[in-house]
């Protein structure tokens, strides 16, 4: 801080005042820009704040270091260390009748002059001011002055010999006798009082760090090191100290003072200041020479290292408070992460707040939480049902609701799953209908073809049409008219299967869409039904459907108009009807009406107007393509559509891809977009247990869905899911991983059972699932020694729960009804993995309802508290 290099000190008690010291001392007050207190001469520090110069003090030349008196009163008392080693007390902006009047101007003079490098006020015993001086061959380098000491008579006797300058003698405020003298024949470069004990002073001496104890000044603890500059104690962790040497910062733990606990990465330029953030634990700011950045080291997550080799992790980042090179900085004493920075030249100041790193976490139940500094934000989904239509609910909420409504578990009427999912997602509806039709076909084919083509069904229309052979072309008449159409229709076994998968036709060799049309009529999908009728070349039926739609309750009368237009159909190429229909059809809002006219006005084989109308359901377009596209056109169209679907993650595309690798690709795209691992898991489980389930992506979805269920504490749902999964994918059933072994012979009890099949003892006989009335095996089948006892009822394992002697509650009585005989959880044997005591699960549960310690006397194990999930209850109802 010599000459041009400025430094900043925040007032320890006035959060709006600071002092800048370079060649003189300047006291500033910081306030909001344009605030009532700011005057015309205010210097802007940031967009919000400005500083006003309150006072200047240039009484003390040759300043080397400054320290601010730590107590409230007298306020604004500063100690200045000078180049000749003298320490002067001075003040700024104080009226002369203030409390510090008699202190101001007091000088503390060392026996031998040399530079004063550092000053430190004792934070508790604030009369004590430690000064660190350069080396002198016969003098001490750490002098602790008592600022309240008077110019003692003892010293005045010595003054005869001492040739004090006349000025010194005039003011009777010169103190030459320090309270303590430490560090003989050494240099002191930095000082700080230790916060853990105000009698301890840490000093950066020449080539070592030393801790002086004022209670016993002849002793010191020291460690040889180069890092002796700028010693500073972490205000939040009183054993942690930082010091530096050139470009390297060393962090010390005073409890393990032999070597630094860590050293920070070395900077190419020498450091000038290192400071702990007073408002945030473990945040250290460092500044190097000629730099415009401040480097921050976040040691927030550094527990005290346990071994010698563990080097804790630190997060390093840089901030740039201003454009110019930084002369010095100072943390604000109370305002969080705030500092004032002064430039190396021209005393340009900047008010700067270090932005805290943000950490963010999603909960498994839709809420989002993020933390920034001391603020914790919790963002919860707006659960009001009224806004349901406005904003789509989060997928986590949806999945939770669906899990509760047993979504995915209907394995017979597969299509019903979309109703379980809420019934309002057309994509899911399409998916579950696809899966339903696939299942139907597969079962049907099994009957018909003895299962040899079963896999074809699940391989999707894309693969089915590829294998198509023996396609016949036919030109059918318009139903109900003799007119020959010139529209060729194609037919083959595979196309027929595809139509079935599309849901247009049900089983049977005939292409009969009448059932389908009736279903659509029932569901009041008039336009779609009309289009399907028309594509089956039945204009009359189409018109009839439209009429029905117009006359039905709440029907759309416009449908009659459409019917009229339809009835005027003519296949004359140049008719007015054709011309008008092909242009006006685009104004029809309903896509099905639109494609009807597109079909009628298209040239045979060129049905792009129908095929690429994206608002028409994929299944209808595919079915249409299967009827009207030739063997050459069809696979091309299907491939194109498949890729589109895969790209978009559109579940309707499962119809095309089936449950193949293509289908997994499509589902991956869907999961990437929605995060709906639930649908993905259930959908893929429906496929044949072949390659698809082995796909790591599928396994990942399934595992994640299980984890999600666990996180929601839907443990019963998760168990149900596992059972469901086990049925569909037998390979997923886990092998037994836990065995109960006998204490005496060490053999597995269950293993012994299976090794002796003739005895016919299942696991159930050990009370796991057996009937409580039957006799039980209470000894090891291997060695015949007794099995462990329940700590509460003292009965051996394998004995069912009876009245619990400890509690004696009536509800503990064994219910011998039929339903409770199987898998009676109360009869299970359980034990603590820590103390190895245990017993019947029911007994244990009731014991730990009222107790924290193990039921075995003299065992103080807090078994239940060791089980982090033991006190949680499932949040699903079943």
């Amino acid at each position: 801080m010599s000459g041009s290099k400025p430094d900043i000190l925040w007032s320890p008690h006035h959060p709006d005042r600071y002092v800048i010291c370079d060649s003189e001392l300047g006291l500033y007050r910081i306030g909001p820009v344009g605030g009532s207190e700011t005057k015309a001469g205010a210097l802007p520090l940031s967009e919000e704040t400005a500083a006003t110069l309150l006072a200047i003090n240039s009484d003390t030349p040759y300043m080397k270091c400054v320290a601010w008196y730590p107590k409230h009163e007298p306020e604004c008392l500063l100690a200045v260390g000078q180049a000749n080693g003298r320490v002067v007390l001075t003040s700024l902006g104080q009226s002369h009748n203030s409390t510090c009047k008699e202190l101001v101007g007091k000088e503390f003079v060392p026996k031998h002059a040399r530079q004063c490098n550092t000053l430190a006020w004792n934070p508790v015993d604030s009369n004590l001011l430690a000064a660190g001086l350069d080396k002198h061959r016969a003098d001490f380098s750490v002098l602790i002055w008592d600022i309240s000491s008077k110019f003692s008579p003892e010293a005045s006797v010595a003054a005869e010999k001492i040739r004090l300058s006349s000025v010194d003698l005039d003011s009777s405020s010169v103190v030459t006798k320090p309270l303590y003298e430490l560090g003989q024949n050494d240099a002191c470069l930095s000082l700080c009082w230790l916060l853990r004990d105000p009698k301890l002073l840490l000093a950066g001496m020449h080539r070592n760090l030393a801790i002086f104890d004022l209670r016993n000044t002849s002793q010191k603890t020291f460690v040889n090191t180069k890092a002796i500059q700028g010693v500073t104690v972490d205000p939040h962790f009183h054993d942690r100290v930082a010091s530096f040497f050139e470009g390297q910062v060393a962090i010390w733990d005073l409890r393990k003072f032999e070597k630094p606990v860590l050293t920070l990465t070395e900077q190419p330029k020498p450091l000038t200041k290192v400071a702990w953030c007073p408002t945030r634990t473990g945040l250290l700011a460092t500044l190097t020479r000629d730099s415009n950045i401040i480097r921050l080291y976040d040691m927030q997550h550094t527990p005290t290292p346990i071994g010698d080799e563990t080097e804790p992790t630190i997060i390093e980042r840089s901030v740039q408070p201003c454009e110019s090179q930084i002369g010095s900085f100072a943390w604000h004493p109370s305002s969080q992460n705030r500092m004032v920075v002064v430039s190396a030249a021209n005393r340009v100041m900047t008010d700067f707040t270090v932005f805290e790193r943000i950490s963010l976490a999603w909960s498994s139940t839709t809420s989002l939480m993020w933390a920034c500094g001391r603020h914790l934000y919790d963002c919860v989904e707006d659960g009001a049902d009224g806004v349901e239509s406005v904003i789509e609910k989060d997928i986590a909420t949806k999945m939770r609701q669906r899990a509760q409504s047993r979504y995915g578990h209907d394995t017979v009427q597969v299509w019903r799953n979309h109703l379980l999912a809420g019934g309002n997602d057309p994509k899911l509806k399409s998916l579950w209908y696809d899966l339903f039709y696939m299942k139907q076909c597969a079962e049907d084919m099994e009957l018909k073809l003895q299962g040899n083509k079963q896999s074809v069904v699940y391989s999707g229309i894309k693969n089915i049409v590829k294998t198509s052979s023996g396609t016949t072309e036919s030109r059918r008449c318009w139903s109900g008219s003799d007119r020959q159409t010139d529209v060729p229709r194609y037919l083959s076994e595979e196309r027929c299967l595809a139509l079935r998968l599309c849901g247009w036709i049900s089983r049977g060799p005939d292409i009969d869409v009448e059932i389908f049309l009736r279903t659509l009529e029932q569901e009041r999908e008039w336009e779609r039904a009309a289009a399907v009728a028309l594509f089956n070349l039945d204009i009359r039926r189409a018109i009839q459907i439209l009429n029905k739609g117009a006359t039905a309750e709440k029907g759309d009368l416009n449908l009659n108009v459409v019917a009229m237009a339809l009835s005027g159909y003519t296949d004359e190429k140049s008719s007015l009807w054709r011309e008008m229909c092909s242009s006006l059809r685009l104004q029809l809002k309903n896509p099905y009406l639109c494609v009807m006219f597109a079909f009628l006005t298209s040239e045979p084989g060129a049905y792009d107007g129908v095929l690429y109308e994206s608002s028409v359901a994929v299944r209808d377009r595919v079915a249409f393509a299967c009827m009207f596209l030739s063997d050459a056109q069809l696979p091309r169209y299907i491939d194109k559509l498949t890729n589109e679907m895969k790209e978009a993650g559109n579940l309707e595309g499962i119809l095309l891809t089936g449950l193949t690798k293509d289908g997994v690709d499509l589902m991956e795209s869907y999961v990437d977009r929605t995060g709906d691992v639930q649908t993905a898991s259930f959908c893929m489980l429906k496929g044949s247990p072949g390659d698809v389930l082995k796909d790591p992506r599928v396994q990942c979805w399934i595992e994640n869905y299980r984890n999600l269920l666990d996180a929601w504490r839907f443990w019963h749902k998760r168990a149900e899911f596992d059972i469901h999964r086990g049925k569909l994918d037998p390979s997923s059933k886990p092998l037994a991983q836990v065995f109960v072994s006998c204490n005496f012979c060490g053999k597995s009890i269950s293993y012994s059972c299976s090794a002796m099949p003739h005895q016919g003892r299942g696991f159930s006989q050990y009370g796991v699932s057996g009937s409580p009335t039957k006799s039980k095996v209470t000894s090891c089948p291997g060695c015949r020694k007794p099995l462990p006892r329940c700590a509460l009822c003292l009965m051996n394992m394998g004995t069912p729960v009876s009245n619990c002697p400890g509690t004696g509650k009536s509800d503990e009585k064994v219910d011998l009804t039929r339903e409770n005989k199987l898998a009676q959880f109360n009869n299970w044997f359980t034990w603590c993995h820590n103390c190895r005591h245990g017993g019947h699960a029911g007994h244990m549960l009731s014991w730990f309802r009222d107790h924290t310690e193990c039921p075995v006397s003299a065992c103080t194990c807090k078994c239940m508290q060791l089980d982090t999930t033991g006190n949680l209850v499932p949040s699903d109802s079943s």
């Binding site: 002059a113 080396k135 002198h136 061959r137 040739r163 003298e181």
Partner: protein
């Protein structure tokens, strides 16, 4: 007590007064432009006879080759006594006196020649590099020996050359003073200054060092025959130390020189009638032991030809007395 063996490899040289002008470039660079060299140890002492330069190998490169410069052939190492461990007894004898009994006398007993350099900050005991094993062996019982390597102090291990035989128990032979002593009339200041203010007094210091008060200056010699021209400047590891007579201090502006609160002044005892050379040992011990016995603080500066002890002015009579007794007692 700790004895630090510093890492500087030092050369001791003498520049004749007539030849000083060819060296001024290098000397000014070493003294005032420390950032331009890698020299960490530089000392220049002017006596009526010559300029004595003590400089580390980096700094030695700055000096030209000349017939005016004679260099002692050995390489020297600096030892520094540090009161490590912190036994801070308050009545501490100052300077050479403190180490007279613990370092200088044992070395003299083992016939190890030493070269002393006292500064404002501390005392350096220079020993020949080749004597180091013997030095360490001699002093290992009294001191914790530490070696400075790259600025870090590490424990120095005795090289074991003297394995097997016990330290020779030389009887406390009386150590008579064998060289003539003289005491110039002028008084001296041992002082220092803030390195930051060095540029502001650089021209003055250059004037004092190189241009004022040569032996041929008629005024000075005629004024007082026993007046001696003596000036010492050292810049060691960033610390400046100055020894100059009282008149010279008057030429400096106020508040630049560090003056001790007691404003002490020192008188000189000059040892040697003939140039002392580098091989004779025990000279420092001869002087410092009586002073230590009398508890008189002292500075001691060896130069190429003679040795100089500085003692407080009020003690000079008793010092002369003590030393005279010593030499006559023989």
């Amino acid at each position: 007590m700790e004895l630090h063996i510093l890492e500087h490899s030092l050369k001791v040289a003498s520049i004749e007064k007539e030849g000083i002008q060819i060296c001024t470039h290098g000397l000014i660079k070493l003294a005032f432009l420390a950032s331009k060299t890698r020299c960490k140890f530089f000392s220049l002492t002017e006596t009526p006879e010559d300029y004595t330069i003590i400089v580390d190998e980096e700094g030695f490169k700055e000096l030209p080759q000349s017939e005016h410069i004679s260099v002692a052939d050995a390489t020297w190492l600096a030892l520094n006594v540090v009161s490590g461990g912190g036994n801070a007894s308050n009545s501490q004898p100052i300077g050479v006196t403190k180490i007279a009994k613990s370092v200088i006398a044992p070395l003299a007993d083992h016939n190890i020649s030493v070269f002393m350099l006292s500064t404002y900050q501390t005392d350096f005991i220079l020993v020949r590099e080749r004597d180091l094993p013997m030095v360490m062996h001699t002093l290992s019982s009294e001191f914790t020996l530490l070696r400075v390597v790259n600025g870090e102090t590490v424990a120095a291990h005795s090289l074991g050359v003297t394995n097997g035989f016990v330290k020779p128990k030389l009887g406390r032979l009386p150590r008579p003073i064998i060289h003539p002593l003289s005491s110039p009339s002028n008084m001296f200041c041992v002082t220092s200054l803030d390195p930051d203010t060095l540029p502001s007094v650089a021209t003055l210091l250059m004037d004092v060092m190189f241009y004022s008060g040569g032996p041929k200056e008629p005024g000075a010699s005629s004024e007082d025959s026993s007046h001696i021209r003596f000036f010492s400047f050292s810049l060691i590891e960033g610390y400046i130390s100055l020894v100059m007579d009282e008149q010279t201090t008057q030429r400096f502006p106020n508040n630049v020189l560090f003056t001790s609160a007691s404003g002490e002044l020192w008188k000189m005892v000059r040892i040697g009638g003939q140039p002392l050379g580098f091989d004779e040992c025990g000279i420092v011990a001869q002087i410092s032991e009586p002073l230590a016995t009398a508890d008189i603080p002292a500075y001691y500066i060896s130069t190429f030809k003679f040795d100089h002890a500085l003692v407080p002015e009020e003690n000079i009579q008793s010092v002369i007395g003590a030393l005279r007794t010593k030499s006559t007692a023989q």
